[in-house]
């Protein structure tokens, strides 16, 4: 789960991380007063979940309250396009207004999971304010990695080493060490999957401040973090994905034309891949769960066909413990409940009692295209789209 910058800063402040003074608002009219409160110079920052906001015009410096009001009016309600939003962009509903900072240096620190080591890792770089992926690609030496034991937390000597590697010394190094330790503690205690400060600012006076902050969390651990669940912003998520999550379906909207319904995440990805190999593109990822119950199939089908981009549907189910004939019955019942489908539907069933399952599909009142293998299914569904188009 992702949260906004202002929410991440709220969490990090609880752990003792310094952030610029500021306030969040959804009201452009409030910008002038907030800017005055902050001393007359401020930064207006669009709050959306995607990164790259600055390049897209979603972060603006205001040298006066009037200018702040002007920026706020323009940014609130805009469709902000960044490299992470896709071409349609993301509508800005909230802005964070912060005091303008007096930047001496911009650094980078983050905590994330080192999968191979099975440990959290602090990633630090003196090249802050830039895309860290680009830094990693161009100059791997510029990035320091400090894995730490999840049971012990980040140890003081490790924090000191990180500060040294950031090129800091004296009081500033001590402050940076404390901040990195706080960031690591916040990461562990909130079950975060990413806690990132980019840039981490060193002020002219040697203070260490989180100028930006980004956090995301392990969905599997949300059951023990009710406060974080309360920060979820459904407006930032695709409406079809929100609908799917209500039915415990794993659905991700993509930009292709063939709706896919599959049981199991690996098979679902493989089905998307084989659609592409066959000359078309998947409109979504959708895992209806290993047992593919009638209820799951019905809900999944509703979501698939409510996507206007879908020109045909491919249902690929491997019935293992769940018998294929029961699944076929579920697919037919789902279509009856929905009053049929307006697009061609290719069904590929395999596994237990598959002959009976295919017979149920063929003898139903619907014109299913019944496929025998995955390759056959992909070929048929792509052909159906080409015919229709």
């Amino acid at each position: 789960m992702k949260i906004h910058e202002y929410q991440a800063k709220e969490i990090l402040r609880r752990y003792g991380v310094a952030t610029p003074r500021g306030r969040v608002t959804d009201d452009a009219g409030a910008a002038r007063a907030i800017c005055e409160e902050l001393g007359g110079r401020c930064v207006v920052k669009a709050q959306i979940h995607a990164g790259g906001r600055g390049k897209g015009g979603g972060v603006q410096l205001a040298k006066s309250p009037a200018e702040a009001a002007e920026h706020a009016g323009r940014i609130l309600g805009m469709q902000l396009v960044t490299h992470q939003t896709g071409a349609e962009g993301q509508r800005v509903r909230k802005i964070l207004i912060e005091e303008a900072a007096d930047i001496a240096e911009e650094l980078y620190v983050a905590v994330t999971l080192d999968r191979a080591a099975g440990k959290p890792v602090v990633i630090a770089s003196a090249a802050g304010g830039m895309d860290i992926e680009e830094v990693a690609a161009e100059d791997p030496q510029a990035i320091h990695r400090e894995p730490f034991d999840p049971l012990l937390g980040l140890l003081p000597f490790q924090a000191r080493r990180i500060a040294r590697r950031l090129g800091l010394s004296g009081d500033t190094a001590n402050r940076a060490g404390k901040l990195v330790t706080a960031l690591a503690t916040a990461y562990v205690e909130t079950d975060a999957s990413l806690a990132e400060i980019n840039p981490l600012m060193i002020t002219a006076g040697g203070d260490v401040v989180a100028l930006d902050a980004k956090m995301s969390f392990d969905d599997n651990a949300l059951f023990r973090h009710k406060d974080i669940v309360g920060m979820r912003d459904l407006a930032e998520e695709n409406p079809l994905e929100v609908e799917a999550s209500k039915h415990s379906l794993n659905y991700i909207k993509l930009d292709g034309e063939i709706g896919c319904m599959v049981n199991g995440a690996g098979l679902a990805m493989a089905t998307m891949d084989i659609i592409q190999l066959s000359g078309s593109s998947p409109a979504n990822f959708l895992d209806v769960g290993g047992s593919a119950t009638q209820e799951a199939v019905t809900n999944a089908f509703k979501i698939l066909v409510s996507d206007a981009a879908v020109k045909a549907v491919l249902i690929n189910i491997f019935g293992g413990i769940a018998r294929t004939d029961r699944i076929a019955g579920g697919v037919v019942a789902a279509l009856r409940e929905l009053g049929g489908a307006k697009v061609p539907v290719v069904v590929r069933l395999e596994g237990t009692n598959v002959e009976e399952g295919r017979r149920i599909l063929r003898e139903s009142e619907f014109d299913f295209l019944v496929a025998e293998t995955m390759a056959d299914a992909a070929t048929q569904v792509v052909a159906a789209v080409k015919r229709g188009g």
């Binding site: 999971l113 969905d219 599997n220 991700i252 493989a270 891949d273 293992g320």
Partner: protein
Amino acid sequence: MAIWLTRETRLVVQGITGKEGKFHALGCRDYGTRVVAGVTPGKGGESVEGIPVFDSVEQARREAGANASMVFVPPPFAADAICEAAEAGVELIVAITEGIPVADMLRVRAFLRDSPRVRLIGPNCPGIITPGQAKIGIMPGHIHRPGRVGVVSRSGTLTYEAVWQLTGLGLGQSTCVGIGGDPVNGTNFLDVMQAFATDPDTDAVILIGEIGGDAEETAAAWIAESCDKPVVGFIAGRTAPPGRRMGHAGAIVSGGKGTAAAKMEAMRAAGIHVCDSPAELGATVARALAGR
């Protein structure tokens, strides 16, 4: 004799009194697995279809001689169940549970460092099966047949798909291992490949990976150096968008790392027969074996 699981293995099912736990405990027993005990704290002394239930794994080990465990405990308590089994001296722990927090698995990994003889498979996996002998997990037993191809995968139904292709071609399986779809797990591709490479009953291996992490690359590097047996590979998720978790918690391309393209490239460089299409897995094994 295949790897890690045989008809001699004695299984305890943790969480046997839950609906799923009971269903799959009986499924394993029907397949031929010796299910000697169940564990549900507070329900010791009961029995599930003739399987004695104990309060602790320690008791199940002492009184029923269990040396393997299948974990069906709900996510908030699953890490504790795994540690309990390890501490009791159970050598093979198969964690089926989906949805265990990553932080809990990090603690489990740290705990298991004190138990080097314990093998954890999973979590969030279909389990392990040695066809014709025994299964510990939720896979449909009847799609398998005994034979000489090893299968290792991060996925459930995609593994069944591969097994079904093999069985359809008359190629049986020595052992099939689902290592699970989570970012932090117990057994990885490398561990399974090392076991298959020295298993006299395995002639070839199918390795089914997916986007996220670098476990496939690590295994490929080892295969290039140390594995003489033909390996057929597939990576799911070449069409997955970066930054999105594709169902499995571990299936995510982040920071440009863990792409299907990079994994396929590493596998090809290691001499692995990489399939572009998941429909070609069985046929590719058949060709690789014929070409030896």
